[in-house]
């Protein structure tokens, strides 16, 4: 309906909008970080011991996976800028695979907890006391919300990859790719905070 939309394009506006949206995402997790801090302060011993039960190996692996995937998505933007469509799509594909690998790891990690009857609302967990209930409650909620963001990010990247494949997004017009990259970096960044909070600080 708006003719100006056809002629008018403002990449800086799109990017500004994306950055503002990322602020809101940070604040969304910010609320959870506050809750985490309060309960960690109140249950130092339980949080300390529960953190030992998480697998640092899987956590580290996932951190490395996400860091590499952030690199590949950044490289895909450069690839598109230099008009190397094939390389760009390849790098985006790698990013998606790495994101999936992250989710697979998460699946096994969560599965192991579930087998030990550790999940929100379980009676086994309830017997271990308030600190453990809160630690695992926060753990599942925060990593779960983060995993949801990974899925959203993957879908976002996939949609952009299809657009690049169909040449709707090209070296002249790649702000959406940049925005998907920004989103993916955010998902990565949040994990960089979740990882030490749950796995490393004991």
């Amino acid at each position: 309906m708006n003719m100006n939309m056809v002629t008018h394009r403002d990449d800086l506006a799109s990017k500004t909008g994306m950055w503002l949206f990322l602020f809101t995402e940070l604040l969304l997790f910010g609320g959870l970080f506050i809750v985490y801090s309060v309960y960690r302060y109140r249950n130092p011993i339980a949080f300390h011991q529960a953190a030992h039960e998480l697998s640092v190996v899987i956590g580290t692996a996932n951190t490395i996976i996400l860091l590499i995937s952030s690199t590949t998505i950044a490289m895909s933007i450069t690839a598109l800028q230099t008009k190397n469509k094939k390389l760009c799509l390849l790098l985006m594909g790698v990013t998606i695979l790495l994101g999936l690998a992250f989710l697979v790891n998460k699946y096994f990690e969560w599965g192991a907890h579930f087998r030990e009857h550790i999940y929100p609302g379980s009676s086994v967990l309830a017997l271990r006391g308030h600190g453990d209930v809160l630690f695992y409650g926060l753990y599942f909620f925060m990593t779960g919300l983060h995993a949801l963001h990974i899925i959203v990010g993957l879908v976002f990247i996939l949609v952009i990859a299809v657009s690049i494949f169909k040449d709707r997004i090209n070296s002249e017009n790649y702000v959406l790719l940049e925005n998907s990259g920004l989103y993916w970096h955010l998902v990565d960044l949040i994990w960089i905070f979740l990882f030490p909070l749950f796995y490393l600080i004991t």
Partner: protein
């Protein structure tokens, strides 16, 4: 004024896009049509909310059960709160008048993201629908009040999930609108419109945009936690699982206090437009009004604790929050001072929007001063959770935002519809409304002072006289509201054609025809002077 420029383009109301009938509205990305979508949906919800309010007041006309049971009363004040807060006053001025006027006032053809703008409206409608669905499904309607306080919100058998999720979706709508406006203001101001040449309504929308963006995610995550608590029993706020209900209150008010400024800042912006237009005078202290808007938005983040003075906090926290509450009153007072000074020695054109603006000043000051009483620690202990609080926030939220909304409605009505309203009926409606308003809420201050608690469907005999006054006021106010709204609707048909600048306003929206053409401007204007360039 009669020499209107002829534009080749049709007005936005007549324009034939690719869709027909209702689809030319609900699929339109034109900011003006989206604004009207918001206006109609918002007014519908407002009437629903107001009717619920009236029914509650009728229940309170006599002690004991009058027309509804206690449980229904609880459901009514919950729904009244959710609808009025999340679906009416928070989107209120930004979504309706912001959408319509922001691009025009800064000399742009549309907002930065028109499709996102339409998406916000869909989120809005979906959110409210979810809230309404919660009333008719599951095991009875929610009965927690609009604050969803823990732990009751996950223990009640009421149908909380759709209501809480609806509020979450409404938050999304609010964030996207704020984001859209921020980018629009940053990127799309007409050439020559520096920050200090921007009109004050866009300025307040800018401050509001930041509050929407930075505060709303907190309520988003808090509501998600409530949902997780209800479905998964995680224990965030459940004392039996080690959680802390007070933490919920902190998180809730971290958003919901700044949200008060989402409501009032654009209202202040509208008043800042109306007063100079009818005084035919440059606004007094433009820079101070700008600075005070930013100051309100900023300080507004740090005073949420004053909702929780009786919840249990350290002495230091109490004093700090109380002090900051007093500080946030200063920028509001600066604005009031500037508005009054603008009127000083002006030749005032006494029109309906100006009366609304003066009414705003009156009730806003009563609301503001009673807010200081509540912000004082000792007085708060006595007044907390009484009708005094109800009176205070209705004076501020309904009195402030509501009056500004109706003022803006009458001020921009000729621009939006291309018709003039019947000012005699508009003034009559205003007077009836005002008398009803003062009787309804003014009385509540006294009831609260004497200890009548809020949120009960019953009360002691000693409060009876006051409640009769208050309830009669509600009926009068509702009647006044009907006069106002019917007059505006009838004027669509009977009103005379509006010129492009009926009030002699100087901001950009008065330079284009009424109703505006689809693309707003034939040629993007170049700005060389300040916004209120009166002689």
């Amino acid at each position: 004024m009669s020499t209107q420029k002829t534009f080749e383009e049709p007005s936005y109301l007549e324009y034939k896009g690719k869709y027909k009938g209702i689809f030319s509205w609900i699929l339109s990305t034109d900011h003006k049509r989206i604004a009207l979508l918001y206006l109609f949906s918002l007014m519908t919800f407002f009437i629903v909310g107001a009717t619920l309010g009236l029914l509650m007041k009728l229940e309170l006309i006599a002690p004991g059960k009058t027309i509804i049971t206690a449980q229904t009363y609880n459901a009514f004040f919950t729904l009244h709160g959710i609808i009025m807060i999340f679906a009416v006053v928070i989107p209120g001025l930004p979504a309706v008048f912001g959408n319509f006027l922001l691009p025009i006032m800064i000399g742009a053809k549309d907002v930065a993201f028109p499709r996102l703008n339409l998406l916000s409206w869909y989120f809005y409608v979906i959110g409210v629908s979810l809230v309404l669905i919660s009333q008719f499904t599951g095991q009875g309607p929610p009965d927690t009040g609009w604050t969803f306080y823990a732990p009751y919100s996950f223990r009640t058998t009421g149908n909380m999930l759709p209501a809480v999720f609806g509020a979450f979706v409404l938050g999304f709508s609010s964030i996207l609108t704020g984001l859209n406006f921020l980018v629009t203001i940053h990127r799309m101001r007409a050439p020559g419109m520096t920050w200090m040449k921007m009109p004050l309504f866009p300025w307040t929308l800018y401050a509001t945009g930041w509050v929407q963006l930075l505060a709303t995610p907190i309520i988003g995550i808090t509501l998600l936690m409530i949902i997780a608590e209800r479905t998964l029993h995680i224990g965030f706020f459940d004392p039996t699982l080690g959680g802390d209900p007070i933490l919920y209150q902190h998180l809730f008010w971290t958003y919901s206090h700044p949200a008060v400024y989402i409501m009032i800042l654009p209202a202040m912006g509208a008043i800042s437009e109306i007063i100079p237009a009818f005084c035919h005078k440059t606004i007094f202290g433009y820079k101070f009004i700008v600075a005070s808007s930013i100051a309100i938005a900023f300080v507004g983040y740090f005073i949420w604790g004053h909702h929780m003075f009786t919840s249990g906090m350290s002495g230091t926290a109490l004093y700090t929050f109380s002090l900051l509450t007093f500080i946030v009153a200063i920028p509001s007072a600066v604005k009031v001072f500037n508005w009054i000074s603008t009127m000083h020695k002006a030749s005032i054109d006494l029109q309906t929007p100006f009366f609304w603006a003066v009414g705003f000043l009156f009730v806003f000051m009563i609301g503001g001063f009673s807010g200081l009483i509540l912000g004082a620690l000792a007085a708060n202990i006595h007044l907390h959770n009484t009708h005094f609080v109800v009176a205070h926030f209705h004076f501020i939220v309904f009195g402030g935002t509501g009056y500004a909304f109706f003022g803006a409605m009458h001020y921009w009505y000729p621009k939006i519809t291309g018709k003039m309203y019947d000012s005699r009926w508009a003034n009559t409606g205003l007077i009836i409304f005002f008398l009803g308003f003062i009787t309804l809420y003014g009385e509540m201050f006294f009831l609260g002072m004497r200890g009548m608690p809020r949120r009960y469907y019953d009360y002691d005999e000693i409060f009876h006289t006051g409640n009769i006054f208050s309830s009669l006021g509600a009926i009068v106010m509702y009647f006044g509201l009907a006069v106002i709204i019917i007059n505006l609707i009838a004027s669509l048909k009977n009103g005379i054609k509006a010129p492009s600048d009926p009030w002699g306003g100087k901001t950009l929206e008065w330079t284009i025809p009424s109703p505006p053409p689809v693309e707003n401007f034939d040629e993007i204007p170049v700005i060389t002077k300040g916004p209120y360039n009166y002689k």
